[in-house]
């Protein structure tokens, strides 16, 4: 078996040891073609589904405890159960991957679009609906081309559309193009965008998509990776799925590990069985910190996640453990930073992302994120004021009332504040901007103070 082979045609993907549930075809250069899909078990899950009752299929997915892979980690089977018995209803696929550090849905769309299409049909069948919109991020033209080609081939082969595989079941999948807006990854904003509007989130309640979604009709929004798991689950059954991963989080996740590691890459990893330490240092994964430097901090679940440090290295990749420890696994994006990293600079860069991507609907986020960016920028530029550190925390608390989730700090005797944060806004974007600030200030306050003191010695004190 291949050990840690970097797969050039699937840039970033590392073929390591272990079960492959969603990335089994990535090793093939032609993994995105219908021929390769069909010759490697593609559409078998869908064909099996069509011989079942919709409720049976939904029950298998619920039994498999397939946790949503988009960030929130909510069980897909339970989410499906929230739909009231109202028609028409819609399935919307969230392929707007843009959380900083996240790189997995693009691979799934570019490298195995048929697996995704098969997953969509299985979900549509279980939900009893016949219209699915596949929303793909605009800045991913290759993913769009691959999906378009796959859909065209699948329609022609009778695997999508009218009378699928010769049965009475008819389901359409429409490929939709995004146009560049991080916030559209939030499900209600995605629905607004799909209706042709500015992608601004809706207030929940009352606009829970399962009840009032696309065109105010019941709508399920599922992440690409979540749906990509369905063919395997239906083909092999829930019991086999639960053989992998942990009891609370069965199956695998595609994790993108980037930053200061020797072998950055996208790895398919069993949930709940591997620790961050093993991921960063293990031979089967990243093989150590770049240049054998010391670890300074890491982001365990995308730009929105509070930072972790050396003390959290032995935590397992288990949502139920990471949440109480003060952060989240989010969208499978792990960013590793070594001791050469400037904490203020890293903090500013993540905050700047949220400031740029704020949709402007809620005042605390629209105003607060750009305040945070300006204050951090002036500290970095050497114009910081002594009161700036507390000001940053105060601005953050106006977006997300404190205490904000943070990791424990054993040295100073401070305990972890569990995830998720509170919010004064409609969606979590604004509160996410507070994560790097509270994480960095709590751990590296002297770095902030040193930058301020360096140019304003009068105010900074001794």
């Amino acid at each position: 078996m291949a050990t840690n082979t970097y797969v050039p045609h699937a840039a970033g993907y590392v073929d390591n040891e272990g079960v492959k549930i969603v990335s089994s075809r990535f090793q093939y250069e032609d993994s995105y073609t219908l021929e390769r899909s069909l010759s490697t078990g593609g559409y078998e899950g869908m064909k099996k589904t069509l011989r079942m009752q919709p409720a049976e299929v939904a029950a298998v997915v619920k039994d498999a405890v397939l946790l949503g892979r988009g960030g929130a980690g909510f069980p897909a089977g339970v989410k499906w159960g929230f739909m009231p018995p109202v028609w028409p209803r819609y399935l919307v696929v969230n392929g707007d991957e843009s959380e900083p550090g996240t790189y997995k849905d693009r691979l799934l769309m570019e490298r195995d679009p048929h697996q995704l299409i098969e997953g969509c049909i299985i979900a549509c069948f279980a939900l009893g609906l016949n219209t699915c919109f596949l929303y793909v991020r605009g800045e991913m033209p290759v993913a769009q081309e691959r999906i378009a080609e796959a859909l065209n081939d699948a329609y022609a082969a009778g695997l999508v559309g009218k009378n699928i595989d010769g049965t009475d079941v008819s389901i359409d999948i429409v490929l939709h193009w995004g146009a560049g807006a991080y916030i559209v990854g939030e499900e209600t904003a995605l629905i607004e965008s799909l209706e042709g509007n500015r992608g601004m989130p809706r207030l929940k309640p009352p606009f829970f998509p399962a009840a009032k979604g696309l065109y105010m009709k019941p709508t399920i929004v599922n992440n690409v990776e979540t749906l990509a798991n369905l063919p395997w689950i239906i083909t092999n059954g829930a019991a086999n799925f639960k053989e992998y991963g942990s009891e609370k989080s069965p199956g695998t996740r595609l994790l993108a590990i980037s930053g200061h590691v020797k072998r950055p890459g996208v790895y398919e990893v069993e949930q709940g069985r591997v620790s961050f330490r093993e991921l960063f240092y293990g031979h089967n994964f990243c093989g150590g910190i770049k240049d054998d430097n010391d670890l300074k901090m890491f982001i365990p679940g995308g730009g929105s996640a509070p930072w972790f440090f050396e003390e959290q290295l032995d935590l397992l990749l288990e949502a139920g453990d990471v949440g109480p420890a003060g952060s989240m696994l989010g969208s499978g994006a792990i960013v590793v930073m070594d001791h050469t990293t400037d904490a203020v600079k890293a903090c500013l860069r993540v905050v700047r992302f949220f400031a740029r991507e704020s949709c402007g609907k809620c005042t605390p986020c629209r105003e607060g994120t750009s305040w945070e960016e300006k204050i951090l920028q002036r500290i970095l530029d050497g114009h910081g004021r002594p009161e700036d550190i507390d000001l940053l925390l105060e601005v953050g608390a106006n977006i997300s009332p404190s205490p904000y989730p943070v990791a424990a700090a054993p040295e100073s005797g401070l305990e972890a504040v569990p995830f998720p944060p509170k919010q004064t806004t409609i969606c979590p974007l604004g509160p996410s901007s507070v994560a790097p600030i509270t994480s960095a200030i709590r751990r590296f306050r002297p770095e902030f103070e040193a930058k301020i003191a360096a140019v304003s010695p009068v105010g900074a004190g001794a």
Binding site: A11, G12, Q53, P54, W87, P88, S98, E99, P100, G101, T102, Y103, D105, R106, G128, L129, N130, R137, G138, E139, P141, V142, E145, R146, I147, E149, N152, G161, K162, D168, S170, I171, D172, V174, L175, H176, W177, G178, A179, G180, A181, Y182, S193, E195, G196, R198, G199, L214, Y215, A256, S258, G259, P264, G265, A333, V335, M337, T341, K345, V350
Partner: protein
């Protein structure tokens, strides 16, 4: 002059037919307009308003929210350099500064010859391949400054036919053959699909 041409009107009608409400087609149609002219013209937005049945102001309202839509001419190649955290850690900002010096423009600017527009952008889902950039949204991975210079000279000399001009999105489009469509559900429709009703009743 910059309304959608005849072929694109036909394409627009095909796209609109895949949505239960015409306005849902607006963002894909804005891409069609941008592909035709390299940017979204005022006349095109007026035309799209007619096609989807809304006002030109509403079209602009939607279009102006999205990063990819440009309202003035752009370079033939849009060079988007990622400086978000994963790329920053491995030299994304230095790559951007190198690009500024090499091309003689700041982010948002276009070279005098109209070939390059430079942008400083957010995460483009290639974090393990940092530092990375996109040319007209096609990825280039793990670039050092020499790689960047090579890329620019290849683009100048026209030896990158794999990268289409700015505005071109996917080179392959979805096309549902006649008679293969199941029928998109309109929100006004009531009742579950027949196949679902039949299977759920026994």
């Amino acid at each position: 002059m910059s309304r959608l041409n005849e072929a694109n009107v036909e394409l627009a009608q095909e796209i609109i037919a895949r949505y239960p409400r015409r306005k849902s087609a607006l963002i894909p149609l804005l891409h069609v307009a941008q592909e035709q002219n390299g940017y979204v013209t005022t006349a095109a937005m007026e035309h799209l308003a007619e096609l989807v049945g809304i006002t030109p102001a509403e079209v602009l309202g939607t279009a102006s929210f999205y990063e990819m839509f440009k309202f003035e001419p752009q370079g033939k190649y849009m060079v988007n350099i990622c400086t978000n955290i994963s790329c920053q850690l491995l030299g994304g900002e230095e790559l951007l500064h190198h690009a500024e010096k090499t091309l003689g423009i700041r982010p948002g600017g276009t070279t005098d010859d109209g070939l390059f527009t430079l942008e400083d952008v957010e995460c483009m889902a290639a974090c393990t391949e940092a530092p990375c950039l996109q040319v007209n949204y096609r990825h280039e991975y793990r670039l050092d400054h020499d790689d960047f210079d090579t890329l620019i000279s290849e683009l100048r000399s026209g030896s990158r036919p794999d990268i289409p001009d700015h505005g071109t999105l996917g080179l392959v489009r979805q096309h549902i053959p006649d008679g293969r469509m199941a029928g998109i559900d309109s929100p006004e429709k009531t009742g579950s699909p027949e196949w679902f009703t039949a299977r759920s009743s026994n």
